[in-house]
């Protein structure tokens, strides 16, 4: 329904001469049809309460930390952001020793920097600090 709502300016054309709006609208209508069929046949599926959500905290923490890293990637550059990402994942999510996490994070980032930046000559983000 959101797709239909934001597709207002896209011309549908006709079925003989489809325009830019036809494919998304037809596909969205099909999605609604298939979703409806799933709802109709819901009785045959296991109940929602059986879905195991015990990993939700892990998921939320990893997503938040990775999102922060993505946001900081261009301003801080590859080296600092990636070292912080690994460090935070190990300390905050995995509750590992901070010193070991710091050593592992820095070591891993330097290895990736060498592999991608030097050995494979793939330009990595330098960031505002220029390294």
């Amino acid at each position: 329904m959101v797709v239909f709502a934001i597709s207002g300016e896209l011309p549908f054309g006709t079925f003989s001469a489809p325009s830019a709006g036809m494919m998304p609208k037809v596909v969205t209508a099909l999605m609604m049809l298939f979703a409806g069929l799933i709802v109709v046949g819901a009785r045959e599926s296991p109940p929602l309460s059986t879905v195991d959500w015990s990993d939700r905290n892990h998921m939320a923490l990893v997503v938040v930390i990775t999102a922060a890293a993505v946001a900081l990637y261009q301003p801080l550059g590859f080296l600092i952001t990636m070292a912080l990402l690994v460090f935070c994942l190990l300390v905050i999510v995995e509750r590992r020793n901070a010193l070991i996490a710091a050593a592992y994070g820095i070591g891993l980032t330097l290895f990736a920097y060498w592999l991608f930046g030097k050995a494979l000559k793939s330009p990595l983000e330098r960031g505002l600090l220029w390294f």
């Binding site: 006709t14 596909v27 046949g41 690994v86 494979l120």
Partner: protein, 507 residues
Amino acid sequence: MGETLQSLALGFSVALQPSMLWYALIGCLVGTLVGVLPGIGPLAGISILLPITYGLDATRAIIMLAGIYYGSQYGGSTTSILLRIPGEAASVMTCIDGNAMARKGRAGAALCIAAVGSFIAGTFGVLMLTVVAPPLALFALGFGPPEYTALLVLGLIFLAYMSTSSLVRTLLMAAFGLLLGTIGIDVMTGHFRYSFNIPELGDGIGIVPVAVGLFGLGEILSTPSRQVTGEVIRPKLRELWPNRTEWRQSGWPIARGSVLGFLIGIIPGSAHIISSFMSYALERRVAKRPEEFGHGAVAGVAGPESANNAASTGAFVPMLALGIPTGPVTAVLMAALLIHGVPPGPTLVNDHPQVFWGFVASMYVGNLMLLALNLPLVGLFVNLLRIPYAYLYPLIIMFCVIGVYEVNHSVVDVWIMLIMGVIGYGLKKFSFDPAPLVLGLVIAPIFEMSLRQALIMSDGTWMIFLQRPVALVLLGISAALLALSAMGYLSRRRDWRAKLAAEAGKE
């Protein structure tokens, strides 16, 4: 036939160059690692490493990326047998009897049978690819937009029909992928679709961020490290050779798995996964003592491992000959070829014979490399499996971010990957298969373009799809498959896919 052999000789002259061998070896090694390590499958592996190939020519790039794909099929068995965790999805069935064999002290034999079966099936698959792909490409040269539209419809319907989840769920995922594929500039009218004034979305959503998000990050989000604990069984080198009875028991399953896997491989769908399920079911059905399955049956390792390797090779037939991806992995490989200016499809054999035949020949070499690598290096892989998952997944996340960012140097792509990771996590919770989504995303622009071109050709009449014989046959098969599925649904009888899924669940 003489022409094929000549072309194959050209292929070997390309594939046996030292630099080609080097990239095939890197691909095979990385693929084995990708298969061995749980939480990162071939799709995420190939997608992450795609930017590395930008500096290479098309032949080297595709040889390396394909090596990752079929190498991961070899590597997946190691984790399944030694840890009872599938290194990648196609190795699920190997967990059952492979690990049971390992617990009986036959880990080495199980690994050897899996490696030899994979080698025989992989080589058989390449032989068939050599024979089947060129004539198929020649036939497809006569295809116009109506035939391509019908072929893509058949591809999607086949994908849904072969899927181990329900038809409707698969079609819903494929439709979602098609919808995502419409984002960006409409090439025929110039309209911007759902780009929300974000310049990066003008070119549409790339397959790499979607594939890495759904299959790489999504897998990590739903796998907390506390769930990845298991005792790794370390086989002794002298135990690697199976005894005479084990060899005898594995012969026919390898042969059946090779043929079955190849046939399933050329059909759209997550072929390498489905083929191992079907091979396991077939072996149990034809076994003299089916009660041994689940308790260390040799056929339960030999059949599925051969089938998934043959299927991964078979999947290259429609990709190379028709330019149609049969699954998300071949879709990414197609994208890789396109990035290097080589369009896969019927013209590939004639326009880029060095790429096509070099690639085919490299697969013969790659299979030999993998056989030589997998058994002697099993100790190294066992040590890798001992690295705690808590230290492994931050590395995978880092590689996901680098891999996606390096494609376009766009942070928007990385955000898309993150969003797709969360969507992948949700899809997994509700048992939706994300593979059709990726396939829909890749197919969307080709499908829309060929449909609209077909309608322009026919002055707007849809009868063109019924007037062209090839299109009519393809659409007829699609309708028959839909009717078969609908009949099964209406009669409330569980079809073979549901039975397979239920059987796998019980195991």
